[in-house]
Symmetry: C2
């Protein structure tokens, strides 16, 4: 048996491992970017779902957190985070209203609306306390998932205001930045959409105090836009998607799945990190289901629940494949879904385990 | 707001819901199939990860359980299940050896081997107690993931026996049955591969007491094969992959994700059940990322972490799309990964909630 690769000893596999030095650098770099461009940083906690990482982000200058669900907000509120944006077009029924009212006791809460039905439900279910919730109108900046067209933002904001909501601005998610070569163009589209939406709000007499956007790939191209708040998530860890988009380098990969080679059948290398560890995400432009941090030419080309099949790029006659029993570090395609599969993250500096962080908001989907 | 669809009231969304009547029928039908074809049923518990469902399977006649990992075995062993096959080419290091030895105190344990390195590690790490572990040689029946070629099974079995392992037979996973039109041909390949592998064992003087195989799609075509044990998993719930393969009908779908419509932007219907609820699985032959149980023409065509974008198949001029706030039942593509994202399953008969089952082995990957 060969010695294991450059990974901490004493860990079972598969395990998610966070390199604390890289994490610190990533958090610091984004905080500096926000500072230097004069925008508020409200990082999306859906990526890490960890109290400890959210604290590091706030300590570095983030002004609050973004989450995707009421239950994520509840997890972070319970640990004292008091400024939270649920960046989602919530459908507020009786149960969600009860939970939002509880959150309001300790949290400055912001939520999204993108339809008259959704806005009316918020107003009807929350009643007068709705005034204490900041509302941002979701704008479609080209991703075409949810959100109103920019020029329609004012009409929805006006309607929401008349229903009793406290509209404070607009937000968008430029998710179409997740395509090779697109981040610069997408940042321009985002800028144009938010400018038009902000003007649309002013047209109905509402000052857009918050103009929020920013995906990890598009943020570095967003200088000069009307954005005054950015909500990146993935930047803390990086992942194979960001590597293949050119958004980060391998020295910015802070999370890997430590995996063991269990088979070398059929000329491949098969790892014990399957879709129940990495997630099954594969964009149509991705080169596979994940990469190996220490072997740039290797690609995960098939994924079962507990098997990752890796194609190796050996030159003819060479065999650089790891042996059965060796360990490798896998870079997952989409780290948000990877983290959501794990109960904890093992935190290392070099080969030393320095902490274990609970994925406190794992599975917080409601 | 329209009334919610045919789903239990009082549930938050997104939530995984199990229809107990359908589950009971599925469990009973597979038990009858095994009985009528004279094979042992050892269902794969990786699909449900629930103690309660494993108990229903045993009560219906299953002879033991299959799992994929040591930690899954530990969860079921702790609840009294005493005959468990870890159908995986385990790499047994010191930690896994310690855990296997603990399991052996109360469990008749079976594990897989598919390489000399793996077999030697089992023997070296377990020492003399290795004799009490049944070992099956994994055979490649055409899926080309792991496993030895059928004619090489005897050589590996012989080597493993000489190393001190108790080889009792062969197993395969015919995973290439997950392709439209292939299940019948794949069942024939599986049969031929297992016959050759069993002969190969006999050639080195080892009687193949266990000949184990069977995926959910291929099982109904496996009559007359040398199989004496089958390990289906997905049959308990069904999913969109099984529907599109023709392996089950909509009346056999026992698990759905109850989801709420949160947007109708851009002519689509957007649900709150994203990839953190359904899983991101999409085979290249799948029509989308999941189906709606009550709307056969609808397809989830895009999936974000908390958004499922559904294309509707309305006739020109018609609009049968559900309204914002309505609820729908989503059939996930690959139910094993869906269940592994949830902490519990809500169990219903009709519209009545009758139980909540913990996904006890959720995240048990090591």
């Amino acid at each position: 048996m060969r010695p294991t690769s450059d990974s901490p000893t004493g860990l079972n596999t598969p395990t998610l491992v966070v390199d604390l030095d890289v994490l610190d650098r990533n958090i610091s770099a984004m905080a500096k970017h926000a500072d230097s461009t004069g925008v508020r940083l409200r990082p999306h906690a859906k990526t890490h779902k960890c109290i400890e990482i959210a604290r590091l982000q706030i300590a570095a200058g983030a002004r609050g957190l973004t989450v995707a669900t009421v239950s994520e907000a509840e997890v972070f509120a319970a640990e004292g985070f008091d400024d939270i944006f649920i960046a989602y077009p919530l459908w507020v029924d009786q149960d969600k209203a009860r939970r939002l009212l509880t959150l309001l006791e300790n949290v400055q809460l912001t939520i999204g609306v993108e339809s008259p039905e959704g806005a009316h439900a918020v107003a009807a279910q929350l009643g007068p306390p709705a005034e204490r919730v900041q509302v941002l109108v979701e704008v479609d900046s080209g991703h075409h998932r949810t959100g109103v067209l920019p020029d329609n933002a004012g009409a929805l904001a006006d309607m929401a205001g008349q229903a009793g909501l406290n509209v404070q601005g607009v937000f968008t998610f430029p998710g179409h930045s997740y395509s090779p070569g697109s981040p610069r163009d997408v940042a321009e589209q985002e800028s144009a959409a938010l400018s038009a939406a902000a003007d649309s709000l002013r047209g109905v007499g509402i000052e857009p105090n918050v103009v929020s956007g920013g995906s990890t790939p598009s943020i570095k191209f967003s200088g000069g836009s009307p954005l005054n708040e950015i909500r990146p998530g993935v930047y803390v860890f990086g992942d194979a998607q960001q590597l293949e988009l050119g958004t980060c380098g391998t020295d910015e990969i802070a999370l890997t799945a430590l995996a063991t080679v269990v088979s070398r059948a059929h000329g491949n290398v098969v790892l014990d990190s399957g879709s129940k560890v990495l997630g099954a995400d594969r964009a149509d432009w991705a080169s596979g289901y994940g990469l190996l941090l220490d072997h740039p030419g290797a690609r995960i080309t098939a994924l079962s629940e507990h098997h990752a099949t890796v194609k190796w790029d050996d030159s003819p006659g060479a065999d650089t494949r790891p042996a059965i029993g060796d360990r490798v570090r896998v870079v997952p395609n989409h780290v948000c879904n990877t983290v959501n599969l794990a109960d904890e993250l093992v935190v290392v500096r070099g080969r030393e385990i320095v902490d274990r962080w609970s994925v406190a908001a794992r599975g917080a989907n409601t």
